[in-house]
């Protein structure tokens, strides 16, 4: 009893301790869950409803306190976030006093959040996806859109050209992922950003949209939008116009005041936006007016080490040494060799062998042909196609499949449509395989008629290879040993190559032999040792064209008195045999002949089965199967004859049949043997004679 009383007393003390702890924790919860700015009567009431009852056990109390602590932490974080969002939303809109923020947010957000926290539930997807306004969405996703998306959206909205901006930003992202910081400025050539007028429009819009913003606020916006990292400043990158920056002639005052000071790196060869937009035309203009301008190759050996299949031979009339024009104010392109090397590196990553196309003059036979390195020929003639080094990702060829370039692997060839097509090795192999063996290339004046040339050439070549010239094709110039220069005019651009392909005589010769072999195969006589199917198939092939259709055959079979066959092959075979043995003009004649065949079969074999013959001529009724067996044993062809026909024939000859009711088992076995005999007779049809 005393022990029990002590035990009870200890329990009571423990309960009291717990109760006191709970009261403290509850107070803490109230303190944490209801901050001053969220102090709302409703929230407190709801919170009190979610209180954990003290009647629960010790473990439950401990767990509930832990859970409640976690909830408190989450709520605290959420309140902080919401506070910051409200600040940001105000920042994104109009400048307002920071004092209003808690008042605005305390009405909407905390009510829901407290309820959610009391239920210990994560916000549903539906609630998360709900977008009340664009501003709300942007403020909710401000972290992810902090650097790039907001900048991209801002520019795209202002300019109205989202595709361009997207391309621009995606390219910047890919560059950022790559570690080449020095190369960032060297290849904005891959996209076409805004031109000058577009930027002016953007600036105008910016002025309209942000008229009241002070510099400090603008700085804060810029800080917000672009962050502290100014290296990847899209704004700067887009505004880096070396010519304009250096000349300082056409700088926009407003933009200077608005934009932060941009330090232009003259050594960083970049395009202006307008140049990039103009792109090819400016390049062409540059090339035509000023020629190609190159920066000096800083390390040519590195290019060679990379085994680049590129070397540029500038004609002597042009600049012998590539020169650098660093501070050119012209609108032409500044194409640095660093850029080129970058491009080469970049393209080598893609395992693509970029070749600058080689142009050979008509008199290129004078050049040494033994060297395997490709010889390039750059021509300054306006009529010729110049190599655009900034776009040397393709070879200009007249056709996708050039026989002379087929040895290359992975060459991007661009036909007249400039649609980049990638030619893989497998295709090339196939094309090589299908390519004629002998190709003779003739340089022909394009003014001349190809037929005349062909006639003259054929006269020459026929002496060597008779009946070999069949096709003529024209293509661009290529270096080959089989070149015959018909007319080596000096006028460039007015020539073309006539490829004289050797006619693939093997193909022509193969087809007749193939047909011959097939026809021989069809005409091969069926040997008796072949299987039934192999016998029937050639017979079908040889006779199917001239054979009547199945319905006619069936009708004829019925008239003649033959068994209906299961398939046409068998019918045709039987028909062939019948036609050979019973040459009659009509089916009725054949039926008469077939009857006579049966009669002769028995008459000529009277002594073979004296007992059965005695039964027959003594009018003894016999079983039909008995007679049929004997007939089949005399000639297997009778197995193909219909039973009704044989019975009819037997009636005409006075043979009396009886129904075999005495021994049904015998008749069953005989019917089985009859079906077996049918297959045998079909197999023997080809060889045995029908003479009884």
């Amino acid at each position: 009893m005393h022990d029990e009383l002590e035990k009870a007393g200890r329990h009571l003390l423990m309960v009291n301790d717990h109760l006191s702890e709970d009261s403290v924790e509850q107070g803490d919860i109230c303190m944490t869950q209801v901050p001053t700015m969220f102090s709302d009567d409703e929230d407190q009431d709801e919170e009190q409803e979610t209180e954990i009852p003290p009647e629960e056990g010790d473990d439950d109390i401990l767990i509930s306190t832990q859970v409640q602590g976690a909830i408190d932490e989450l709520n605290h974080q959420e309140t902080v976030v919401h506070t910051f969002r409200n600040v940001l939303s105000r920042f994104a809109l109009e400048t307002q006093d920071q004092a209003d923020i808690p008042l605005v947010s305390s009405k909407k957000v905390p009510v829901k959040k407290v309820i959610k926290s009391s239920k210990v539930k994560q916000p549903t997807a539906r609630l998360q996806k709900r977008i009340k306004s664009i501003t709300q969405f942007n403020t909710d996703n401000w972290e992810s859109n902090r650097v790039k998306d907001r900048a991209q959206k801002m520019i795209s909205i202002l300019s109205g050209k989202s595709a361009k901006v997207k391309k621009l930003v995606s390219k910047l992202d890919s560059e950022a992922s790559a570690d080449a910081e020095s190369l960032q400025d060297s290849h904005p050539t891959q996209f076409a950003p805004f031109n000058e007028s577009e930027w002016q429009h953007i600036v105008g819009l910016l002025r309209e949209k942000l008229p009241k913003v002070s510099r400090s606020e603008l700085n804060s916006v810029q800080q917000y939008v672009y962050g502290a990292d100014e290296q990847h400043n899209l704004w700067k990158a887009s505004q880096l116009s070396p010519e304009k920056q250096i000349s300082s002639q056409c700088s926009d005052g407003e933009s200077e005041t608005i934009l932060p000071s941009l330090t232009l790196d003259n050594n960083a060869p970049v395009y202006t936006l307008s140049q990039l937009v103009e792109g090819e035309s400016s390049n062409n203009r540059c090339s035509t007016e000023d020629g190609l301008r190159f920066k000096p190759i800083s390390n040519p050996s590195s290019v060679i080490e990379q085994e680049l299949p590129i070397s540029i031979d500038v004609p002597s009339s042009e600049t012998d040494v590539p020169s650098q024009i660093a501070d050119s104010c012209d609108s032409g392109s500044i194409i640095s060799f660093e850029e080129l090397s970058f491009m080469i590196q970049d393209k080598n990553k893609a395992d693509v062998d970029y070749d600058i196309p080689c142009y050979l003059p008509p008199d290129s036979k004078t050049l040494p042909t033994g060297e395997k390195t490709k010889r390039e020929y750059s021509r300054a003639n306006i009529n010729d196609q110049l190599i655009n080094i900034s776009q040397t990702s393709y070879d200009v060829v007249s056709s996708i499949v050039s026989p002379m370039k087929a040895q290359r692997t992975g060459t991007i060839q661009v036909p007249a449509t400039r649609t980049t097509t990638f030619q893989d090795q497998q295709q090339q192999n196939q094309q090589q395989a299908s390519k004629p063996a002998n190709v003779v290339k003739i340089y022909v004046d394009s003014n001349r008629d190809s037929n005349d040339v062909f006639a003259s050439v054929k006269g020459e070549v026929d002496t060597q290879e008779q009946e070999s010239l069949s096709t003529l094709t024209t293509s661009m110039l290529h270096d080959d040993n089989n070149e015959i220069v018909i007319d080596s005019e000096d006028e460039r651009g007015s020539y073309s190559i006539m490829e004289v392909h050797d006619a693939p005589q093997t193909h022509l010769g193969q087809f007749p032999s193939l047909r011959k072999s097939q026809s021989q195969k069809l005409k091969t006589p069926v040997s008796a040792t072949d299987s039934l199917d192999s016998q029937l198939q050639p017979a079908l092939l040889t006779t199917q064209n001239a054979s009547p259709n199945t319905a006619k055959l069936r009708r004829s079979f019925k008239v003649i008195g033959l068994k209906p066959c299961k398939n046409k092959v068998q019918m045709l075979q039987v028909w062939e045999t019948l036609e050979s043995k019973f040459p009659g003009s009509s089916d009725e004649d054949r039926s008469i002949q077939l009857k006579q065949f049966l009669t002769d079969l028995i008459v000529q074999n009277r002594d073979e089965s004296a007992l059965l013959m005695e039964q027959i001529y003594t009018f003894e009724p016999i079983r039909y199967e008995q007679l049929k067996e004997w007939l089949v044993s005399l000639n297997s062809f009778t197995e193909l004859i219909d039973d009704s026909f044989i019975k009819n024939w037997a009636d005409l000859n006075g043979i009396v049949f009886r129904n075999d009711t005495e021994n049904p088992l015998l008749s069953q076995s005989q019917s089985q043997s009859q079906s077996r005999l049918l297959s045998q007779s079909l197999s023997q049809l080809q060889s045995p004679s029908l003479s009884p």
Binding site: I602, V603, E614, I616, T618, F619, R623, D651, N653, G654
Partner: protein, 288 residues
Amino acid sequence: MSNKQHRVPDFYCSYLLRSIPKPNSFYIGSSPDPVRRLRQHNGAVRRGGAYRTKRNGTRPWKMVCFIYGFTSKIAALQFEHAWQHSYKTRFIENNERLVTKKNTRNGIATKLGNARLLMKHPYFDKMNLHIRFFDRLAWESWELNKFKVDYGLSLCEVDEAVLTDESQLDELDELNLERIKAFYEDQMAQESSLLQRYQDNLTYDQKSCMICDKKIDYIHDEGTQMVGFCSDDECDFLSCLSCLYKEFTKNSKQIIPKSGHCPNCHKCLEWSQIVKYSTVLREKLIKD
């Protein structure tokens, strides 16, 4: 193959009955004993099926004719069936068929025309069937050959004395039965006398085949040997049936000959009659 040796029946006929009170009612049947069968039809004999002829007002029946000479019961039944189902029998060619529908009520001319067509068929023609008339109108219709069936009348046997007359209506059925009975008994008597002669010829004298010169041991033979005789009373030709068969089919490509000339007396012999007597003799030998 049954163990029982085949024997051509002594007499088997397929007959045509005509109702005396209803002349448009006919009945076609077959029987080896037409007298007994006719009595059955007319109710004189209680036993035996005669359901169709029992109908009210049709009795008595008279047997206007019968066709006899069948080489087997099966053949006689085939003829009967074909005669009854002349609209569909295979023994009548479609282009010669007189009746094409089942329930066509045909007269005596059609019945006889179908009989003529059936007898014309090679199957029955080989059997050398005979037709015997016991009614004047039926015989006249046969003679008339309304449907012009091309078949010889040489096998038509008619005795003017046995032809019943319509004037003798009261005794018509009895007269018909008597004359049928007379004919039947006469036939059986002829058959019997012939067979007795052949048997005596074989029993009391050792004979050899007059064709192959093979000895015919009728006494010790167990029925494996079949002998053919000449039906002429004066001719004692005897041979193996197989030899005679070969003789008859020597210059022809027939499997079963219809007739042939006796090698001895050159009388035209019906093959079916030769076979008939040969099979009967063989059966007697086994029985003995």
